[in-house]
Symmetry: C2
Subunit: 229 residues, 2 copies
Protein backbone atom coordinates (compact mmCIF):
# COMPACT_ATOMS: atom_id res chain seq x y z
CA UNK A 1 0.00 0.00 0.00
CA UNK A 2 1.65 3.22 -1.13
CA UNK A 3 0.12 5.43 1.54
CA UNK A 4 1.50 3.27 4.33
CA UNK A 5 4.97 3.68 2.92
CA UNK A 6 4.44 7.41 3.04
CA UNK A 7 3.20 7.37 6.62
CA UNK A 8 6.16 5.50 8.04
CA UNK A 9 8.47 8.11 6.60
CA UNK A 10 6.97 10.66 9.00
CA UNK A 11 9.20 10.38 12.08
CA UNK A 12 6.44 10.60 14.68
CA UNK A 13 4.70 7.60 13.08
CA UNK A 14 7.74 5.53 12.27
CA UNK A 15 7.21 3.16 15.17
CA UNK A 16 3.53 2.35 14.67
CA UNK A 17 2.37 -1.25 14.59
CA UNK A 18 1.11 -2.88 11.42
CA UNK A 19 -2.47 -2.58 12.62
CA UNK A 20 -2.20 1.06 13.58
CA UNK A 21 -0.68 1.88 10.24
CA UNK A 22 -3.51 0.13 8.47
CA UNK A 23 -6.23 1.95 10.34
CA UNK A 24 -4.39 5.22 9.81
CA UNK A 25 -4.07 4.57 6.11
CA UNK A 26 -7.83 4.32 5.73
CA UNK A 27 -8.39 7.88 6.90
CA UNK A 28 -5.26 9.66 5.78
CA UNK A 29 -5.46 11.46 2.48
CA UNK A 30 -2.83 12.87 0.19
CA UNK A 31 -3.18 16.44 -1.03
CA UNK A 32 -1.15 18.43 -3.51
CA UNK A 33 -0.58 22.17 -3.55
CA UNK A 34 1.01 24.30 -6.22
CA UNK A 35 3.51 27.02 -5.51
CA UNK A 36 1.73 29.90 -3.81
CA UNK A 37 -1.40 27.95 -2.89
CA UNK A 38 -2.89 28.44 0.56
CA UNK A 39 -3.12 25.34 2.74
CA UNK A 40 -4.90 27.02 5.60
CA UNK A 41 -5.34 30.51 7.00
CA UNK A 42 -5.15 31.89 10.48
CA UNK A 43 -8.48 31.46 12.21
CA UNK A 44 -9.61 28.52 10.08
CA UNK A 45 -11.26 25.71 11.95
CA UNK A 46 -8.73 22.88 12.27
CA UNK A 47 -10.01 19.43 11.43
CA UNK A 48 -6.62 17.79 11.37
CA UNK A 49 -2.97 18.34 10.68
CA UNK A 50 -0.47 17.88 7.86
CA UNK A 51 2.83 16.21 7.12
CA UNK A 52 5.14 17.15 4.27
CA UNK A 53 6.00 14.38 1.78
CA UNK A 54 7.76 16.67 -0.65
CA UNK A 55 8.06 20.37 -1.32
CA UNK A 56 8.23 23.32 1.09
CA UNK A 57 5.60 25.05 3.19
CA UNK A 58 5.87 28.36 5.03
CA UNK A 59 3.99 29.13 8.23
CA UNK A 60 3.59 32.85 8.78
CA UNK A 61 1.75 35.75 10.38
CA UNK A 62 0.65 38.93 8.64
CA UNK A 63 0.55 42.45 10.03
CA UNK A 64 -2.27 44.85 9.22
CA UNK A 65 -0.17 46.57 6.57
CA UNK A 66 0.75 43.31 4.89
CA UNK A 67 4.21 42.67 6.27
CA UNK A 68 4.79 38.99 6.88
CA UNK A 69 6.78 37.22 9.56
CA UNK A 70 7.62 33.63 8.71
CA UNK A 71 7.55 31.39 11.76
CA UNK A 72 8.71 28.17 10.12
CA UNK A 73 9.63 26.69 6.80
CA UNK A 74 8.73 23.00 6.78
CA UNK A 75 10.02 20.35 4.40
CA UNK A 76 10.35 16.62 4.09
CA UNK A 77 8.95 14.63 7.02
CA UNK A 78 7.92 17.64 9.06
CA UNK A 79 4.43 17.93 10.49
CA UNK A 80 2.53 21.17 10.97
CA UNK A 81 -0.87 22.43 12.05
CA UNK A 82 -0.96 20.10 15.04
CA UNK A 83 -1.27 22.74 17.75
CA UNK A 84 -5.06 23.21 17.44
CA UNK A 85 -5.54 19.50 18.08
CA UNK A 86 -4.59 20.03 21.71
CA UNK A 87 -5.45 23.63 22.41
CA UNK A 88 -8.12 25.75 20.85
CA UNK A 89 -9.67 24.76 17.58
CA UNK A 90 -8.31 27.27 15.15
CA UNK A 91 -5.04 27.65 13.33
CA UNK A 92 -2.93 30.39 14.92
CA UNK A 93 -1.10 31.25 11.67
CA UNK A 94 -1.21 30.85 7.89
CA UNK A 95 0.27 28.06 5.76
CA UNK A 96 1.19 28.46 2.09
CA UNK A 97 3.16 26.18 -0.22
CA UNK A 98 6.28 27.95 -1.49
CA UNK A 99 7.00 25.07 -3.85
CA UNK A 100 4.79 22.46 -5.44
CA UNK A 101 4.17 20.21 -2.45
CA UNK A 102 2.66 16.83 -1.65
CA UNK A 103 1.18 16.60 1.83
CA UNK A 104 -0.55 13.99 3.96
CA UNK A 105 -3.63 15.11 5.84
CA UNK A 106 -4.44 13.43 9.17
CA UNK A 107 -7.95 13.98 10.50
CA UNK A 108 -8.04 14.97 14.13
CA UNK A 109 -10.49 12.42 15.53
CA UNK A 110 -8.65 9.19 14.92
CA UNK A 111 -5.34 10.76 15.78
CA UNK A 112 -6.48 11.73 19.23
CA UNK A 113 -7.75 8.20 19.74
CA UNK A 114 -4.41 6.80 18.64
CA UNK A 115 -2.55 9.05 21.03
CA UNK A 116 -4.71 8.01 23.93
CA UNK A 117 -4.08 4.35 23.16
CA UNK A 118 -0.38 4.50 22.44
CA UNK A 119 1.89 6.30 24.84
CA UNK A 120 4.84 6.17 22.46
CA UNK A 121 2.96 8.35 19.99
CA UNK A 122 2.09 10.73 22.80
CA UNK A 123 5.75 10.88 23.77
CA UNK A 124 6.80 11.57 20.19
CA UNK A 125 4.24 14.28 19.94
CA UNK A 126 5.43 15.78 23.23
CA UNK A 127 8.96 15.72 21.98
CA UNK A 128 7.92 17.30 18.70
CA UNK A 129 6.10 20.15 20.46
CA UNK A 130 9.02 20.59 22.84
CA UNK A 131 11.53 21.08 20.06
CA UNK A 132 9.11 23.51 18.49
CA UNK A 133 9.13 25.42 21.79
CA UNK A 134 12.90 25.39 21.88
CA UNK A 135 12.94 26.77 18.39
CA UNK A 136 10.60 29.61 19.32
CA UNK A 137 12.60 30.36 22.43
CA UNK A 138 15.53 30.94 20.16
CA UNK A 139 13.51 32.86 17.57
CA UNK A 140 12.25 35.28 20.21
CA UNK A 141 15.76 35.67 21.56
CA UNK A 142 17.11 36.39 18.10
CA UNK A 143 14.39 38.85 17.17
CA UNK A 144 14.66 40.92 20.29
CA UNK A 145 18.26 40.61 21.38
CA UNK A 146 20.24 40.43 18.16
CA UNK A 147 20.66 42.82 15.30
CA UNK A 148 19.97 41.79 11.75
CA UNK A 149 23.61 41.05 10.74
CA UNK A 150 23.92 38.65 13.68
CA UNK A 151 20.67 36.91 12.78
CA UNK A 152 21.69 36.55 9.15
CA UNK A 153 25.16 35.26 10.04
CA UNK A 154 23.61 32.76 12.46
CA UNK A 155 21.24 31.60 9.75
CA UNK A 156 24.04 31.04 7.25
CA UNK A 157 26.00 29.10 9.86
CA UNK A 158 22.88 27.08 10.60
CA UNK A 159 22.53 26.15 6.94
CA UNK A 160 26.19 25.19 6.85
CA UNK A 161 25.63 22.96 9.89
CA UNK A 162 22.72 21.12 8.30
CA UNK A 163 25.00 20.36 5.39
CA UNK A 164 27.51 18.83 7.77
CA UNK A 165 29.70 21.90 7.95
CA UNK A 166 30.02 22.40 4.23
CA UNK A 167 31.14 25.83 3.07
CA UNK A 168 28.96 25.80 0.00
CA UNK A 169 25.36 26.64 0.68
CA UNK A 170 22.34 26.96 -1.55
CA UNK A 171 19.38 28.89 -0.22
CA UNK A 172 16.21 26.84 -0.52
CA UNK A 173 14.05 29.93 -0.17
CA UNK A 174 14.18 33.29 -1.90
CA UNK A 175 15.96 36.19 -0.25
CA UNK A 176 12.61 37.87 0.17
CA UNK A 177 11.38 34.93 2.22
CA UNK A 178 14.64 34.83 4.10
CA UNK A 179 14.12 38.44 5.12
CA UNK A 180 10.66 37.60 6.40
CA UNK A 181 12.04 34.64 8.34
CA UNK A 182 14.63 36.88 9.98
CA UNK A 183 12.08 39.57 10.75
CA UNK A 184 13.44 42.21 8.40
CA UNK A 185 13.13 43.47 4.80
CA UNK A 186 14.65 42.34 1.48
CA UNK A 187 16.56 45.63 1.23
CA UNK A 188 18.27 45.14 4.56
CA UNK A 189 19.23 41.55 3.69
CA UNK A 190 20.59 42.72 0.38
CA UNK A 191 22.75 45.38 1.97
CA UNK A 192 24.17 43.10 4.64
CA UNK A 193 24.93 40.31 2.18
CA UNK A 194 26.87 42.67 -0.05
CA UNK A 195 28.78 44.01 2.94
CA UNK A 196 29.71 40.44 3.90
CA UNK A 197 30.71 39.92 0.30
CA UNK A 198 32.87 43.04 0.16
CA UNK A 199 34.62 42.12 3.39
CA UNK A 200 35.58 38.72 2.03
CA UNK A 201 33.53 36.85 4.58
CA UNK A 202 31.30 35.17 2.03
CA UNK A 203 31.02 34.90 -1.74
CA UNK A 204 27.57 35.14 -3.21
CA UNK A 205 26.20 34.22 -6.64
CA UNK A 206 22.41 34.23 -6.78
CA UNK A 207 21.14 31.62 -4.36
CA UNK A 208 24.60 30.17 -3.77
CA UNK A 209 26.67 31.31 -0.83
CA UNK A 210 30.23 30.24 -0.13
CA UNK A 211 31.62 30.82 3.33
CA UNK A 212 35.16 32.18 3.05
CA UNK A 213 35.85 33.33 6.59
CA UNK A 214 34.04 30.94 8.90
CA UNK A 215 35.42 32.49 12.06
CA UNK A 216 34.55 36.00 10.95
CA UNK A 217 31.00 34.88 10.33
CA UNK A 218 30.80 33.40 13.79
CA UNK A 219 31.99 36.64 15.34
CA UNK A 220 29.29 38.53 13.49
CA UNK A 221 26.67 36.05 14.67
CA UNK A 222 27.82 36.92 18.19
CA UNK A 223 27.28 40.62 17.64
CA UNK A 224 30.52 41.94 16.17
CA UNK A 225 29.97 44.76 13.71
CA UNK A 226 30.75 44.38 10.03
CA UNK A 227 33.58 46.64 8.88
CA UNK A 228 32.48 49.28 6.46
CA UNK A 229 34.19 48.38 3.25
Amino acid sequence: MKIIDSIIKIPIFSSLSEGQLKSLSTIVSEKSFNKGETIFSQGDEATGFYAVLSGLVKIFKLSLNGKEQILHVFGNGNIFGEVPMFSGEKFPANAVAIEKSRLLFFPKRLLLKLIKEDATIAMKMLSELSSRLRYFTRLVEDLSLKEVPARLAAYILYLSNIKGGSNDITLSITKGQLSSLLGTTPETISRILSKLNNNGIIQMHGKKIKIIDYQGLEEISRGKKIENY
Copy 2:
Protein backbone atom coordinates in the same frame (compact mmCIF):
# COMPACT_ATOMS: atom_id res chain seq x y z
CA MET B 1 -1.07 15.25 53.63
CA LYS B 2 -0.29 18.85 52.85
CA ILE B 3 1.79 18.17 49.77
CA ILE B 4 -1.05 16.28 48.07
CA ASP B 5 -3.32 19.27 48.57
CA SER B 6 -0.69 21.36 46.83
CA ILE B 7 -0.33 18.94 43.94
CA ILE B 8 -4.01 18.82 43.07
CA LYS B 9 -4.02 22.58 42.74
CA ILE B 10 -1.74 22.27 39.73
CA PRO B 11 -4.16 22.00 36.79
CA ILE B 12 -2.30 19.30 34.88
CA PHE B 13 -2.45 17.02 37.92
CA SER B 14 -5.94 17.85 39.08
CA SER B 15 -7.40 14.62 37.74
CA LEU B 16 -4.91 12.15 39.15
CA SER B 17 -6.12 9.10 41.06
CA GLU B 18 -5.57 8.74 44.79
CA GLY B 19 -2.78 6.25 44.19
CA GLN B 20 -0.99 8.37 41.63
CA LEU B 21 -1.13 11.35 43.94
CA LYS B 22 0.34 9.32 46.73
CA SER B 23 3.26 8.05 44.71
CA LEU B 24 3.84 11.55 43.38
CA SER B 25 3.81 13.01 46.86
CA THR B 26 6.68 10.76 47.92
CA ILE B 27 9.04 12.24 45.35
CA VAL B 28 7.82 15.79 45.01
CA SER B 29 9.61 18.37 47.08
CA GLU B 30 8.75 21.92 48.00
CA LYS B 31 11.34 24.61 47.49
CA SER B 32 11.34 28.28 48.41
CA PHE B 33 13.13 31.10 46.65
CA ASN B 34 13.59 34.67 47.74
CA LYS B 35 13.15 37.63 45.46
CA GLY B 36 15.98 37.68 42.95
CA GLU B 37 17.12 34.11 43.55
CA THR B 38 18.00 31.96 40.55
CA ILE B 39 15.97 28.78 40.11
CA PHE B 40 17.90 27.52 37.11
CA SER B 41 20.09 28.92 34.38
CA GLN B 42 20.19 28.35 30.67
CA GLY B 43 22.27 25.29 29.89
CA ASP B 44 21.75 23.65 33.29
CA GLU B 45 21.06 19.95 33.24
CA ALA B 46 17.33 19.46 33.84
CA THR B 47 16.42 16.80 36.35
CA GLY B 48 12.80 17.79 36.61
CA PHE B 49 10.37 20.64 36.36
CA TYR B 50 8.61 23.11 38.62
CA ALA B 51 5.15 24.31 39.50
CA VAL B 52 4.34 27.62 41.18
CA LEU B 53 2.44 27.44 44.48
CA SER B 54 2.82 31.11 45.26
CA GLY B 55 4.90 34.03 44.09
CA LEU B 56 6.12 34.98 40.63
CA VAL B 57 8.85 33.59 38.41
CA LYS B 58 10.32 35.08 35.26
CA ILE B 59 11.73 33.01 32.42
CA PHE B 60 14.18 34.96 30.28
CA LYS B 61 17.07 35.05 27.87
CA LEU B 62 20.13 37.28 28.12
CA SER B 63 22.08 38.89 25.31
CA LEU B 64 25.85 39.16 25.42
CA ASN B 65 25.68 42.75 26.61
CA GLY B 66 23.26 41.91 29.38
CA LYS B 67 19.94 42.94 27.90
CA GLU B 68 17.19 40.59 28.96
CA GLN B 69 14.13 39.39 27.10
CA ILE B 70 11.47 37.93 29.35
CA LEU B 71 9.69 35.01 27.71
CA HIS B 72 7.12 34.32 30.42
CA VAL B 73 6.08 35.42 33.85
CA PHE B 74 4.59 32.45 35.69
CA GLY B 75 2.40 32.58 38.77
CA ASN B 76 -0.03 30.46 40.72
CA GLY B 77 -0.61 26.97 39.30
CA ASN B 78 1.66 27.40 36.30
CA ILE B 79 4.34 24.87 35.49
CA PHE B 80 7.69 25.65 33.90
CA GLY B 81 10.93 23.96 32.93
CA GLU B 82 9.13 20.98 31.43
CA VAL B 83 10.49 21.31 27.89
CA PRO B 84 13.81 19.50 28.58
CA MET B 85 11.85 16.48 29.80
CA PHE B 86 10.84 15.74 26.23
CA SER B 87 13.54 17.26 24.09
CA GLY B 88 17.15 17.84 24.90
CA GLU B 89 18.32 17.72 28.44
CA LYS B 90 19.14 21.29 29.24
CA PHE B 91 17.10 24.31 30.11
CA PRO B 92 16.82 26.65 27.12
CA ALA B 93 16.41 29.79 29.27
CA ASN B 94 16.90 31.19 32.77
CA ALA B 95 14.42 31.22 35.65
CA VAL B 96 14.54 33.71 38.53
CA ALA B 97 12.01 34.45 41.29
CA ILE B 98 10.83 38.05 41.07
CA GLU B 99 8.94 37.66 44.34
CA LYS B 100 9.39 35.37 47.29
CA SER B 101 8.04 32.13 45.81
CA ARG B 102 7.08 28.65 46.89
CA LEU B 103 7.53 26.00 44.21
CA LEU B 104 6.99 22.29 43.82
CA PHE B 105 9.77 20.33 42.18
CA PHE B 106 8.86 17.21 40.18
CA PRO B 107 11.72 14.88 39.33
CA LYS B 108 11.79 13.82 35.73
CA ARG B 109 11.94 10.04 36.06
CA LEU B 110 8.67 9.30 37.77
CA LEU B 111 6.88 11.91 35.77
CA LEU B 112 7.77 10.27 32.49
CA LYS B 113 6.57 6.95 33.87
CA LEU B 114 3.30 8.54 34.94
CA ILE B 115 2.80 10.03 31.50
CA LYS B 116 3.39 6.71 29.81
CA GLU B 117 0.83 5.05 32.04
CA ASP B 118 -1.86 7.66 32.02
CA ALA B 119 -2.96 9.10 28.71
CA THR B 120 -4.98 11.87 30.35
CA ILE B 121 -1.78 13.32 31.82
CA ALA B 122 -0.15 13.08 28.42
CA MET B 123 -3.09 14.93 26.91
CA LYS B 124 -2.91 17.64 29.55
CA MET B 125 0.77 18.00 28.94
CA LEU B 126 0.19 18.20 25.18
CA SER B 127 -2.43 20.85 25.70
CA GLU B 128 -0.12 22.76 28.03
CA LEU B 129 2.70 22.75 25.49
CA SER B 130 0.29 23.70 22.72
CA SER B 131 -0.94 26.80 24.51
CA ARG B 132 2.66 27.68 25.17
CA LEU B 133 3.26 27.42 21.42
CA ARG B 134 0.25 29.62 20.71
CA TYR B 135 1.60 32.15 23.12
CA PHE B 136 5.00 32.18 21.41
CA THR B 137 3.36 32.46 18.02
CA ARG B 138 1.76 35.61 19.24
CA LEU B 139 4.92 36.88 20.95
CA VAL B 140 6.93 36.52 17.76
CA GLU B 141 4.19 38.26 15.83
CA ASP B 142 4.12 41.12 18.31
CA LEU B 143 7.89 41.54 18.45
CA SER B 144 8.40 41.63 14.73
CA LEU B 145 5.21 43.08 13.32
CA LYS B 146 4.10 45.63 15.90
CA GLU B 147 5.68 48.76 17.25
CA VAL B 148 6.19 49.28 20.94
CA PRO B 149 3.09 51.47 21.56
CA ALA B 150 0.91 48.75 20.02
CA ARG B 151 2.54 46.07 22.15
CA LEU B 152 2.13 48.10 25.30
CA ALA B 153 -1.51 48.95 24.54
CA ALA B 154 -2.21 45.28 23.82
CA TYR B 155 -0.62 44.32 27.12
CA ILE B 156 -2.72 46.80 29.09
CA LEU B 157 -5.86 45.53 27.37
CA TYR B 158 -4.77 41.98 28.15
CA LEU B 159 -4.46 42.83 31.85
CA SER B 160 -7.87 44.45 31.74
CA ASN B 161 -9.29 41.27 30.18
CA ILE B 162 -7.89 39.04 32.91
CA LYS B 163 -9.63 41.25 35.41
CA GLY B 164 -12.92 40.70 33.62
CA GLY B 165 -12.78 43.94 31.67
CA SER B 166 -12.10 46.16 34.66
CA ASN B 167 -10.71 49.60 33.91
CA ASP B 168 -8.53 49.65 36.99
CA ILE B 169 -5.33 47.72 36.61
CA THR B 170 -2.41 47.11 38.91
CA LEU B 171 0.86 45.96 37.38
CA SER B 172 2.12 42.83 39.10
CA ILE B 173 5.62 43.39 37.75
CA THR B 174 7.84 46.47 37.71
CA LYS B 175 7.91 48.68 34.66
CA GLY B 176 11.47 47.59 34.07
CA GLN B 177 10.34 43.99 33.82
CA LEU B 178 7.41 45.03 31.68
CA SER B 179 9.83 46.61 29.24
CA SER B 180 11.82 43.40 29.07
CA LEU B 181 8.65 41.39 28.50
CA LEU B 182 7.69 43.67 25.62
CA GLY B 183 11.18 43.56 24.14
CA THR B 184 12.10 47.17 24.77
CA THR B 185 13.68 49.44 27.42
CA PRO B 186 12.37 51.11 30.59
CA GLU B 187 12.92 54.53 28.99
CA THR B 188 10.73 53.74 26.02
CA ILE B 189 7.96 52.36 28.24
CA SER B 190 8.15 55.46 30.40
CA ARG B 191 7.83 57.77 27.42
CA ILE B 192 4.91 55.94 25.88
CA LEU B 193 3.04 55.70 29.15
CA SER B 194 3.32 59.43 29.71
CA LYS B 195 2.15 60.11 26.17
CA LEU B 196 -0.88 57.90 26.80
CA ASN B 197 -1.38 59.80 30.02
CA ASN B 198 -1.15 63.21 28.37
CA ASN B 199 -3.60 62.20 25.66
CA GLY B 200 -6.20 61.19 28.23
CA ILE B 201 -6.14 57.55 27.18
CA ILE B 202 -5.01 56.27 30.57
CA GLN B 203 -4.33 57.66 34.02
CA MET B 204 -1.27 56.40 35.79
CA HIS B 205 -0.17 56.51 39.43
CA GLY B 206 2.81 54.31 40.16
CA LYS B 207 1.80 50.71 39.45
CA LYS B 208 -1.86 51.59 39.04
CA ILE B 209 -3.26 52.25 35.59
CA LYS B 210 -6.80 53.38 34.88
CA ILE B 211 -8.10 53.03 31.35
CA ILE B 212 -10.00 56.17 30.38
CA ASP B 213 -10.42 55.75 26.63
CA TYR B 214 -10.83 52.04 26.00
CA GLN B 215 -11.49 52.45 22.29
CA GLY B 216 -8.50 54.72 21.83
CA LEU B 217 -6.32 52.12 23.49
CA GLU B 218 -7.65 49.45 21.16
CA GLU B 219 -6.86 51.58 18.13
CA ILE B 220 -3.29 52.02 19.34
CA SER B 221 -2.97 48.27 19.88
CA ARG B 222 -3.92 47.94 16.22
CA GLY B 223 -1.14 50.26 15.11
CA LYS B 224 -2.63 53.76 15.24
CA LYS B 225 -0.08 56.40 16.19
CA ILE B 226 -0.32 58.29 19.47
CA GLU B 227 -0.95 62.01 18.96
CA ASN B 228 1.90 64.19 20.07
CA TYR B 229 0.54 66.08 23.00
